[in-house]
Amino acid sequence: MARTVIIGLGNPILTDDGVGIHVVRAVAAQCQRDDVTFAEASVGGLRLLDVIAGYERVIMVDAIQTRDGKAGNLYRLHPSDLEASLHSGSTHDLSLPGALALGRGMGMVLPDDEAIVIIAIEAEDVLIFGEVCTPAVATAIPRAVEAVLAELEAGEP
């Protein structure tokens, strides 16, 4: 089984909301490693837990909106920072840290927090349906792809 899972989070038909998915699709097209699995998910919580269970290492790519953020900015986060990530939480489910705590409590095999990295891209529009990102966010996609590839090379667990 592959040891690392790279997950694009978001909604690919909701303008910038899908940026994580666009990035991960681009990474998948360039990366030929057998030990890496690519996945897509739309919300956090238990649905996300299903995707990461069993892996040693997780790289997630998600949209983010911060208070004074500039569209296209990149961030590197761990689950403990996750309160700001768009899909890490859900009103219908647990946040990612909550889901991880629950899963570990139940004896599920889950990666450590340090082995979970989130690459987040500052979004501009996440409320209007559309298949392409806004220009500032689209420009950030190649940089985010580089960041994911660098993360993959650098952070062997």
């Binding site: 739309s42 919300v43 238990l46 299903d50 909106q65 768009l86 009103t91 647990l94 996440v126 409320l127």
Partner: protein
């Protein structure tokens, strides 16, 4: 006028906000729920082949993709005038029942139970599923994860994928099941029935046996009589996947029963300038504002409304629970917002029983699961009960099946007015002149909203099991005089 704003973290879009306005005396004058509405889907859909819609619409919402998938597939059946073979229908309903089990499990255990097991005034850091496990025992967490997991595995088996199922096509489903799969689903179904019974027993022991909670459920603060909507089968029994939509009035009498294609004759949508989200109402009664009662066209579409709108449930154990529910609550219909949680667990048991019934149906492994559409496509409406309310998909296409017009009424939109009304009622009863606004008090107002399991834009931020809230109290000049936050750190 003073204004109290219960507002989730302001740096994020995609969240709901509760605004409470006080009058000069400090009593509640009005309350609104503001939900950021995702926009432009109709335009997005135009020009696409209609058979793509069952794969596109699940993307609208990350919480209930299965509901959109089913409503969309049914609308496509209608567009193509194609009848789904019996086994195709049963496999769709089987997937849908599994989805109900998974979805209702998550809502009850993650979002609802902590308020009752830990108490509405418990510190937010403890009032979540982890606190619940700590109090009730580790075993309960295992049951929740396993039961939800079995529901998701059935969805994956029948729908091709667990996240955004693709199994339903115009005219049926893409894949039949074999005996091995059937036997596995049946075995899981039996286990899920036990889990449904366990959940109802837990509700009994923790909530109904506790006079404080029972009084809270029955209190005027959480009581809002209105019209109730739900899908029913030919015997007026609750059905999630198919049938006619029945609406009963606040006294429980049938007001109307309509087929999907008649929805525009029954339901209209009111628009307010302060929100993108519309307010559906019963056309014949009319829009009278955010008020309840027989003269207001406001209707509710929730687990409770589905029980109220039906004459019973078609499976034996859920029917028993249904009868006990109305006996305890003092007859039909039930108007208590917090009883939605109880109704949800009765539906969970029904869905589990339905899984067993369908998995043991002699036709379920029949390979004939789809009729290929041959008619010219034009227009169709599909309706299912999403866990959060009646879900309507309506498509109009050209002769090649390209979407020209699309209209959706989604679960939570039905409940936009009822939620606002329930919040106002709770706020009126709880926030009085000179009252100190505590965290526990806020949580009690929020409980009126959480019972509906409202689905806002899916990309919503929250800490474990709770909506982050911020309360800002403005004086008559709009100055902030007090600020109270919870779950923001």
């Amino acid at each position: 006028m003073k204004k109290i704003s219960i507002d989730p973290i302001t740096r994020l879009e995609g969240h709901g906000k509760i605004e409470i306005f006080l009058d000069e005396e400090g009593n509640v004058a009005n309350a609104y729920l503001i939900i950021p509405e995702l926009r432009g889907f109709e335009k997005f859909a135009e020009g696409r082949p209609v058979e793509e819609m069952p794969r596109i619409t699940p993307r609208i919402c990350g919480v209930c993709p299965e509901a959109h998938h089913m409503a969309s597939a049914k609308a496509c059946d209608a567009v193509y005038h194609v009848e789904v073979p019996p086994t195709g229908k049963k496999l769709r309903e089987l997937l849908y029942s599994a989805f109900y089990v998974a979805d209702h499990t998550v809502h009850f255990y993650i979002l609802a139970a902590p308020d009752f097991v830990l108490g509405p005034d418990a510190p937010p850091a403890e009032r979540n599923i982890l606190g619940l496990i700590h109090k009730v025992g580790l075993e309960i967490g295992g049951k929740v994860i396993r039961s939800r997991g079995m529901g998701m595995d059935i969805i994956g088996m029948l729908g091709g994928k667990t996240v955004h199922p693709v199994g339903a096509l115009p005219g049926g489903v893409s894949k039949a099941i074999n005996e091995q799969e059937r036997a596995q689903i049946e075995a899981w179904g039996h286990e899920l029935v036990e889990f449904g019974q366990f959940s109802l027993q837990l509700f009994h022991d923790v909530v109904l046996e506790n006079k404080v909670y029972l009084d809270m459920i029955l209190s005027d603060a959480y009581t809002t009589p209105m019209y109730y909507m739900g899908l029913v089968d030919e015997n007026n029994k609750v059905n999630f996947y198919d049938g006619l939509v029945r609406v009963v009035d606040p006294a429980g009498n049938e007001f109307v029963k309509y087929a999907p294609e008649e929805y525009l004759d029954v339901v209209a949508e009111h628009v307010e300038p302060w929100t993108y989200l519309k307010f559906p109402y019963l056309k014949e009664v009319g829009w009278k504002g955010l008020v309840t009662g027989k003269d207001s066209g406001v209707y509710q579409a929730t687990p409770l409304s589905r029980l109220n709108a039906a004459d019973g449930i078609a499976t034996p154990l859920a029917q028993e629970a249904y009868e006990e529910f109305y006996e305890t609550m003092g007859g039909k219909p039930v108007h208590n917002t917090l009883a939605i949680h109880w109704a949800r667990l009765i539906e969970l048991l029904y869905a589990a029983e339905r899984i067993v019934e369908l998995a043991t149906d002699p036709e379920i492994t029949n390979p004939h699961v789809r009729n290929i559409p041959t008619e010219t496509p034009d227009e169709g409406v599909g309706i299912v009960e999403a866990p959060r309310g009646t879900l309507t998909h309506h498509y109009i296409t050209d002769q090649k099946g390209i979407v020209e017009k699309c209209n959706l009424i989604v679960g939570t939109t039905n409940n936009h007015a009822p939620i606002s009304i329930s919040i106002k009622k709770a706020a009126e009863a709880l926030i009085k002149k000179g009252q100190v606004i505590s965290e526990g008090l806020l949580n009690r107002v929020e409980m009126a909203f959480r019972a509906y399991d409202p689905c806002m834009a899916c990309a919503t931020h929250t800490l474990p099991g709770q909506m982050p809230l911020e309360v800002i109290i403005h004086d008559a000049d709009g100055e902030v005089v007090e600020q109270l936050t919870q779950y923001l750190d």
